[in-house]
């Protein structure tokens, strides 16, 4: 670098006409454009803060209303009631009904909703479902009616007052599984049931 010459030029500039120095007085960081940029930054911060507030508000609303409703529908689904069947009921009614179910009580609303469950059960198939003897062997005495249906699938119920499910095993046998009540357990092993198979009628 030609340091001597450069410093000479730099020093000479120091002493230029005071008018030119006054022209740049206070310009740094204070021009209208800079103020605009600052304002824009402030606006950006405010916009981000507003967006965050809306997001938090939405999450709160969701947590307070939507989430409990979804949980209530999930609860009813577990009881065997389809969400589609609940379309006639308001969210508030569904949440209230579930609260009643959870406390073990009942009222007009819960009775109406329980009827949907019965209606669904009537919908069950009239034809025996085809299963294999391997599937039957999976059954254990403590399995409830619902658990058995989960393993073997829904099938024809020929019971009247009690549940008697009919299955077609290995394409050539018929198996009937009785349950004395809605919550009854199977009471036997699948192996035992296989010994009671009857040949399918043609």
């Amino acid at each position: 670098m030609k340091e001597k010459e450069v410093m000479k030029l730099f020093n000479s500039l120091t002493n230029v006409n005071g008018g030119y120095i006054e022209e740049i007085r206070g310009k740094t960081g204070r021009s209208k454009k800079t103020v605009f940029v600052l304002k824009r930054s402030t606006f950006l911060i405010e916009a981000i803060a507003a967006a965050c507030f809306i997001l938090i508000f939405s999450i709160t609303v969701y947590a307070k209303s939507v989430a409990p409703y979804n949980a209530a529908v999930g609860y009813l689904k577990a009881l065997g009631i389809d969400a589609e069947d609940l379309s006639d009921y308001s969210r508030k009614e569904i949440k209230e009904a579930v609260e009643v179910f959870k406390t073990g009580g009942s009222n007009a609303l819960t009775e109406k909703i329980l009827k949907l469950k019965l209606k669904n059960e009537v919908k069950s198939t009239d034809e025996p479902t085809k299963v294999t003897s391997e599937q039957i062997r999976l059954l254990t005495p403590t399995m409830t009616r619902a658990e058995v249906l989960e393993v073997l699938g829904d099938t024809a119920d020929i019971g009247s007052g009690i549940y008697i499910y009919v299955y077609e095993v290995d394409g050539q046998y018929t198996l009937t599984i009785p349950f004395t009540s809605y919550d009854a357990q199977l009471g036997v092993y699948g192996e035992t049931l296989l010994e009671a198979l009857t040949v399918k009628e043609k």
Binding site: V6, K8, F10, L13, V16, I24, G26
Partner: protein, 184 residues
């Protein structure tokens, strides 16, 4: 407080003069010094400049108070810079000086070596001939030492575009020096 009132305080030997100077122009002075020196030394430099102001008014009575103060700050900073053994650590100043190097005319193209005082007069004429915006930009970059990026942002230009504009100004200064037949 008006500049004339501050000058009156200096003339009356009232120490409030320094406080008022600091209050009104402290930030600007620090900016000038910080563009030549590291922050810690810049603060010291500005304090030295206030003392020089105190010692120089009276007898001096500046017409343009800020220009007078700014020159003292800038000269003090340059003296500290020149006296330092760690020049290369002052990145901002090194950058400005390297840009200034482009303004130096080639030795073979000039006839007379110009003295510092005459060079200042030459610069005064050259600045006077520049359009206002170019003059302000040149002064802000090379007198105030403001960064090209910051100037670009303020003028709504990309740093590259602002650097190009500065380059043109430097080339203009160089060609004017050559045209006048000056060497530094």
């Amino acid at each position: 407080m008006e500049d004339s009132q501050i000058i009156s305080l200096y003339l009356e030997r009232d120490k409030a003069a320094i406080l008022e100077t600091e209050k009104k122009y402290g930030k600007s002075c620090l900016l000038i010094a910080e563009n030549i020196l590291p922050k810690a030394e810049a603060e010291e430099c500005v304090n030295d400049a206030y003392l020089k102001m105190w010692n120089s008014i009276p007898p001096n009575r500046p017409d343009k108070f800020f220009a007078y103060l700014g020159r003292i700050v800038r000269n003090t900073a340059i003296n500290i810079y020149n006296g330092s053994r760690r020049k290369k650590r002052y990145a901002g100043m090194m950058q400005i000086l390297s840009e200034f190097e482009e303004c130096i005319p080639a030795p073979e193209s000039v006839e007379n070596v110009i003295e510092e005082k005459a060079l200042t007069e030459f610069l005064n004429k050259w600045l006077a001939a520049l359009p206002y915006d170019d003059r302000v930009l040149f002064m802000r970059r090379y007198w105030n030492g403001e960064a090209v990026n910051a100037l670009g942002r303020e003028y709504g230009m990309s740093p590259e575009k602002m650097a190009k504009r500065m380059y043109k100004l430097r080339q203009l200064l160089k060609s004017e020096l050559e045209r006048e037949g000056y060497s530094l």
